[in-house]
């Protein structure tokens, strides 16, 4: 398999400025701070984390909607990190995005036909008749009625609108589609339809996805590999099977156990890590391990002093985590919860 997308040490810092005329940089928000991954053609990388952990910023950097501060993005063998507008133009034919909010990402004053045809027009593909035929074909592919060509977005439900967004992303046969929380705003039943559609399209058109979500269970159904992010950094990455069978980072464990279980008996029996508070501000992130103030396995004197680096899991391929005290058992045992008071206690 060939590597389609390689991201090396990607960084995106937003400056915080003071002053009206002479703007002085007073601080930096490190939204993305050192992300590495390689994505093979035809694969899906799931990216998971809470709001504010930098996953959308990362996606926007890859699509070059934002200028990365540092690092490298190699797409299809070309370094696109600092290409200018003209240089990006041919690259954009191979890279499309699907956005979270199907209500906000479609122009309310354009007809569906024009919305889906827009990428074709921008890249000057085909004549008007060709485009119309292509749009109708696309609507059919995503499960909409091709006769709805002349309707406006408000005439469709949320799920149907997300299908329109997907049709638009498919229009120019891209190689990579970046899906930024495509199902978070949808009903559970519609969510299943869209997830299945994305899977079918991947098989039919050999697509590669970067799939962003805040729910690990959603990502599981579409991903080959999963990356869990916290405050701009990956805390655990791994193949789907390894990561779900034996998560190592407590944050991964918290995300997995936070999702509601549709079975009252199982739900009452399971152990849950309920994180308190919100993701801290990336303006002033906690020292060392950024997760330590919320971590149930925090050890004073270690986690807040020494930053854990990504370490491979013994015996597993391609499964890495950044934690000094990884989870030992999954499903969790009683002792995994205890907030460990100090380093002395654990070593002694």
């Amino acid at each position: 398999m060939s590597e389609l997308l390689v991201v090396e040490d990607l960084q995106k810092y937003f400056p915080v400025t003071r002053g009206l005329i002479f703007q002085k940089e007073v601080a930096q928000v490190k939204a993305v701070d050192g992300v590495n991954f390689t994505l093979n053609a035809g694969e899906t990388l799931g990216v998971v984390g809470e709001s504010g952990c930098g996953k959308s910023t990362m996606a926007r950097c890859i699509a070059r909607l934002l200028e990365p501060t540092g690092g490298k993005i190699i797409f299809d063998g070309r370094d696109i990190t600092h290409l200018d507008r003209n240089g990006m133009r041919p690259v954009r034919r191979d890279m499309m995005m699907v956005f979270q909010d199907p209500y906000a990402s479609l122009n309310a004053r354009m007809r569906v036909g024009a919305i889906v045809a827009e990428p074709l027009e921008v890249h000057g593909i085909g004549t008007d008749t060709d485009r119309k035929r292509r749009v109708q074909e696309l609507l059919e592919i995503v499960g909409l009625n091709p006769e709805h060509y002349n309707r406006f977005p408000h005439e469709f439900s949320g799920g149907q609108r997300q299908r329109i967004g997907i049709a638009r992303a498919l229009a120019i046969n891209p190689k990579l589609i970046i899906c930024d929380e495509p199902v978070s705003a949808l009903d559970v039943s519609v969510q299943a339809q869209i997830l299945n559609l994305l899977k079918d399209l991947q098989q039919d058109f050999q697509l590669t996805y970067v799939f962003i979500a805040h729910d690990l269970n959603v990502v599981r159904h579409v991903s080959d590999r999963v990356m869990v992010m916290y405050l701009g950094k990956p805390v655990e990455t791994g193949g789907k099977v390894d990561l779900y069978a034996a998560p190592k980072h407590p944050y991964t464990g918290a995300l997995l156990s936070a999702a509601p279980i549709a079975d009252p008996t199982l739900g009452r029996a399971r152990k849950q890590i309920v994180l308190t508070g919100d993701v801290p501000s990336p303006l002033n992130p906690p020292a060392a391990c950024r997760f330590h103030p919320r971590c149930p396995r925090f050890v004073d004197g270690k986690c807040n002093v020494d930053e854990p680096l990504l370490t491979p899991v013994a015996g597993a391929q391609d499964h890495e985590y950044a934690c000094h005290f990884p989870l030992e058992h999954w499903p969790m045992g009683e002792d995994e919860f205890r907030r460990r008071a100090s380093l002395a206690e654990t070593t002694g």
Partner: protein, 344 residues
């Protein structure tokens, strides 16, 4: 006596295109300290049911019938001033989107104090004291200083906590929560659900949890109503419902949920769209999407009937007892098979 007793509640909206049958013949009871989960897709009538019983639908365009007894008194069609004494005081409401339900140009504290002073004869200082207390109760850190913040200074989860604090501030007997966690991250959702559970245990408040997610229902409810096309299609205790759901729509909802223990490549999906309530299908409203449909479903509306396992478990379906048992057994087996796959 039940705290809330709803009988045959029906809401119709007159529109330019015709009459929208938003809610048809919904009946249920809610006791003190209980949690009722109401599940259905967008457009199933679940929100309108509760807006109607709170008197929040526009009477110029809506026809409402049936009966709503709250603490033994009829409140359906009650005067605005009488309802105002109940709403916010004895029945609290939490809405889905905390950004649009909070006033963006007023401080959090002002909005909470308003809720207190509307229903109690107290000074602003006393109202403020109660507001700080309410914020502390929903676990907002440094409540005494955060009370002067504006809504945009709070994260989504914190705003939803403020909404809960506002609903709770007058110690209501019932809280109606309309998709309180839908806009939130899973971790924040878990926090909010735990918080609601705790408040219920402390105070014995009855909760109505409106959601499209059966997982949320399983976590929090005692009783469950499944709604489809404006009608209740299944009604049962939470354990009964998840042990043996009787209606194909409920099977579909369960199958479409991504579950941690299932690794199947495809999710089971309910094909198609929810029905138009302007022109609902003949017979069973679910028949155009039902994989087990037969002739009778297309002509005759199935009545709500008790399950063979118990009279408390009611559902609408024409399928015979044996067929339903067989189909559910097969579904359950396929779920169990994938579960073992994940363990291996």
């Amino acid at each position: 006596m039940a705290l809330l007793e709803v009988t045959d509640l029906t809401t119709r909206f007159r529109t330019d295109d015709g009459i929208v049958k938003a809610v048809t013949g919904v009946s249920f009871t809610l006791d003190r300290g209980q949690t009722l989960g109401v599940v259905g897709e967008s457009g199933s009538g679940k929100s309108v049911t509760f807006l109607t019983l709170m008197g929040l639908v526009d009477r110029r365009h809506a026809q409402v019938s049936g009966s709503v007894l709250f603490d033994g008194q009829e409140i359906l069609g009650a005067s605005g001033s009488r309802l105002q004494k109940i709403r916010g005081r004895r029945i609290g409401m939490i809405f889905q989107d905390p950004m649009t339900s909070l006033n963006p140009v007023k401080r959090i504290g002002w909005q909470l104090e308003e809720a207190v002073m509307l229903h109690n004869d107290v000074t602003r200082a006393e109202a403020r004291r109660r507001s700080v207390e309410a914020l502390e109760e929903v676990e907002i850190p440094r409540a005494d200083s955060r009370i002067d913040a504006y809504p945009h200074q709070f994260s989504g989860g914190m705003r939803q906590r403020v909404m809960i604090a506002m609903a709770l501030i007058n110690k209501p007997e019932v809280i109606i929560a309309d998709e309180p966690t839908t806009a939130l991250d899973v971790t924040t959702q878990a926090q909010i659900l735990r918080l609601m559970e705790k408040l219920q245990n402390d105070r014995g408040t009855a909760i109505v949890m409106i959601t499209h997610d059966l997982g949320v229902v399983a976590e929090l409810s005692n009783e469950v109503l499944v709604m489809y096309g404006g009608r209740v299609v299944e009604q049962a205790g939470v354990d009964d419902l998840f042990a043996k759901p009787e209606m194909p729509y409920t099977w579909g909802l369960l199958g479409s949920l991504p579950r941690p223990e299932i690794v199947a490549d495809r999710l089971e999906q309910i094909p198609g769209q929810p029905p138009s309530l302007l022109h609902p299908p003949q017979g069973c409203a679910f028949n155009p999407r039902c994989p087990y449909v037969f002739d009778r479903c297309r002509t005759e509306l199935p009545e709500l009937r008790p399950s063979p396992l118990g009279a408390d478990h009611q559902f609408r379906c024409h399928l015979g007892d044996e067929d339903r048992t067989r189909i559910w057994a097969a579904k359950k087996a396929s779920l169990a098979a994938t579960t073992e796959g994940s363990a291996a």
